[in-house]
């Protein structure tokens, strides 16, 4: 619901956003980034030991970015029911992961796996030096999905 509304409002403000982008060309952060950064969505942790929770941790402290993204999946439908993140990194990294959690909430695993970093970069108008933040967010969701799938397949094999 939230996602669809957000996408709708994005298209309706496309015209205004062009002028804003021009205005902010000399500033580091786009207002969307600041918005996500000041009000990050879905911050927190899920029980990583739970069998229907997948955890993805990507990045390294020495590079200045670490994203931890967790998804809770409905085992029968394959829909992401809950999603939480924590991020150590610049404002763009925090905003990228926050926006990613908004995107994947309520999505099926297959759809979530198809999300591209360009989608995030476009929404947040990330400058070229910050593109790696959106790539990291893409890696994080892929890692979380992989983790969930390994958790799921291992017990079935054992049975």
């Amino acid at each position: 619901m939230i996602v669809s509304n957000l996408l709708k409002s994005t298209t309706s403000t496309a015209a205004t956003r062009i002028t804003i982008t021009q205005l902010t060309a000399r500033r580091l952060y786009h207002p969307k980034v600041i918005e996500h950064y000041t009000n990050p969505r879905n911050v927190g942790s899920l029980d990583k030991k739970s069998s229907n929770v997948g955890t993805g941790i990507v990045g390294a402290p020495a590079c200045g970015d670490v994203i931890k993204l967790q998804i809770q999946v409905n085992d029968s439908t394959g829909i992401i029911e809950d999603v939480k993140f924590k991020t150590f990194g610049c404002g763009s990294a925090i905003a990228s992961s926050s926006y990613m959690t908004e995107l994947v909430h309520g999505m099926s695993l297959d759809d979530a796996y198809k999300i591209k970093n360009t989608e995030i970069a476009k929404e947040l108008s990330l400058p070229p030096v910050k593109l790696h933040c959106s790539m990291l967010a893409e890696d994080a969701i892929k890692a979380a999905i992989k983790d969930y799938k390994t958790k799921r397949t291992n017990p079935t094999v054992l049975h």
Partner: protein
């Protein structure tokens, strides 16, 4: 309550573009210049839709954009109050300026300094080097008085002060001028790894001219080892350059000991005192300083001027960078700017006059700020706590990324290091020299306290830092792991 409206910018004047030129020209014809100027001043901050005019801090434009985006983005999720709301509060009507705590980058001009300067922009416009008429004589007299004031702070003779465009020029003059003059017999320069970029770069350029440069390391407190310095001196060493107060961590080097060593070995001793002049007691004779770089805008004076102290007895020779009319003892040709020189002189006079007051006041606020910041877990003071200028405080907040912290502190003007390197997003080379790892160097912030910092501002900063570091740590997966007792070094990070 939060965020102060320090400066109220002029209100936007409704414009009627079609009419304005004729109104202006009639004003000019009627000789009403002052009103014409005020209209122009109002014009400068006018924010029309679609026109980007950046004011000093550009808070107005930023706030306006945010307001626009939020009003359009009706579904923006209201997730309650966070500590960041103060940093991003919208003040669309008037400009709210951030609290200024970047005193190592530059200081606000003292109003008394500006008062001194103004008359040299209006009536007293003579060239101080014109010795054929009264216009030149009067400005020359003022320039020489200013020179006296600048010299007195460091117990020097006025004749030993050379006015330059700033400490960068002074440092370049010394690092290039002295070795070039003595190049027939001397081939070696000694400096440290924590110097300001202009000293390091000037020294590096001398390598290309065939000189050898020794860059001394520092210990984990940021201090050099004087024995190591003494051992590094060779028979062909011509210059030792060590800064007095470091611009990033505020550490005070043992200048007097270095001066003694240099005197013993008959090597010229230069010290970059841009951050130290007028702020710590310095006596060029007692400390055996041969050359000293001074900056005006770090002591509440005007920007664009500085000085170089060059000892006369025994005489220090250096090759000038500029060729020309031979002003300033032939070392720095070019007409002096009397408004800047007199402003600088007044600023120096005030540094001496206010020395005790400034010291006590800054120390008190500094102690308060340090204890407030270090009360946070995993917050560490960088640099020696004992050999330290209290007005420069550098603190690392572990497990919080520096850039995101600065972004959270937009209502406070701070820097993560020197102003020259903050554009590059590279971790500070000074903190690297102290042996700090990348992650900690990434999460350090410099706080500068000066004559015009108020106690309320310090209180606000302590509260803001505590709230926002906490907020960002709640967001940080590293902080969570540390709380769970996981050793971060034991993890194999994927890297990117």
């Amino acid at each position: 309550m939060f965020g102060r409206s320090l400066v109220r910018l002029p209100r936007v004047v409704p414009s009627n573009v079609g009419l304005r030129p004729s109104v202006w020209s009639s004003k000019i014809r009627s000789g009403n210049l002052s009103r014409c100027y005020s209209a122009a001043a109002a014009e400068a901050v006018k924010l029309d839709e679609g026109i980007s005019i950046e004011t000093h801090t550009d808070i107005q434009a930023a706030a306006k954009e945010q307001a626009n985006v939020r009003s359009n983005d009706s579904e923006a999720i209201k997730s309650g109050n966070t500590a960041l709301n103060h940093a991003y509060q919208e003040n669309t009507g008037f400009g709210t300026r951030p609290i200024y705590l970047d005193m190592q980058a530059t200081t606000p001009t003292d109003p008394r300094v500006l008062d001194t300067m103004l008359k040299y922009y209006t009536g007293l416009y003579g060239n101080p080097h014109s010795n054929t008429h009264a216009y030149g004589w009067e400005t020359n007299k003022s320039v020489e008085e200013a020179r006296e004031h600048v010299a007195k702070v460091i117990n020097a003779n006025a004749k030993e002060i050379i006015f330059t465009s700033g400490a960068t020029e002074s440092n370049n003059m010394v690092l290039k001028g002295v070795p070039r003059f003595y190049k027939k017999t001397k081939k070696h320069i000694i400096t440290t790894r924590t110097e300001h970029k202009c000293v390091l770069e000037a020294a590096r350029s001398m390598i290309n001219e065939g000189f050898e440069v020794t860059f001394l390391g520092v210990d984990s407190n940021g201090l050099i080892d004087v024995n190591e310095l003494e051992n590094a001196i060779r028979p062909d060493t011509c210059l030792v350059s060590v800064m007095a107060v470091n611009n990033e961590i505020g550490v005070i080097q043992p200048i007097k000991q270095i001066g003694e060593i240099c005197k013993k070995h008959k090597v010229y001793f230069h010290t970059d005192c841009a951050q130290a002049y007028g702020k710590i007691p310095i006596d060029v004779n007692d400390m055996n300083i041969d050359l000293m770089s001074i900056s005006s805008h770090k002591i509440y004076g005007p920007k664009g001027i500085g000085a170089l102290y060059v000892r006369r007895r025994p005489r220090i020779r250096l090759e000038p960078l500029l060729s020309g009319g031979g002003q300033e003892r032939g070392l720095r040709s070019g007409t002096l700017a009397p408004p800047l020189v007199t402003g600088f002189g007044e600023a120096a006079r005030l540094m001496l006059q206010e020395f005790d007051n400034d010291q006590n006041y800054i120390s008190r606020l500094s102690n308060k700020l340090i204890s407030g910041l270090l009360s946070l877990d995993h917050a560490t003071l960088n640099g020696s706590p004992n050999h330290h200028y209290p007005g420069c405080i550098n603190v690392s907040f572990a497990y919080v990324e520096g850039e995101s912290l600065l972004m959270a502190l937009r209502d406070i003007a701070l820097s993560s290091g020197s102003a020259c390197t903050s554009a590059s997003l590279e971790p500070s080379y000074v903190l690297h020299a102290l042996g700090k790892d990348d992650a900690l160097a990434h999460s350090s912030i410099r706080f500068g306290i000066g004559r015009f910092t108020t106690e309320e501002e310090v209180d606000y900063v302590i509260k803001a830092i505590q709230e926002r570091v906490k907020f960002l740590r709640e967001l940080s997966p590293l902080w969570e792991m540390v709380q769970e007792g996981i050793d971060l070094d034991s993890i194999e990070w994927s890297g990117h």
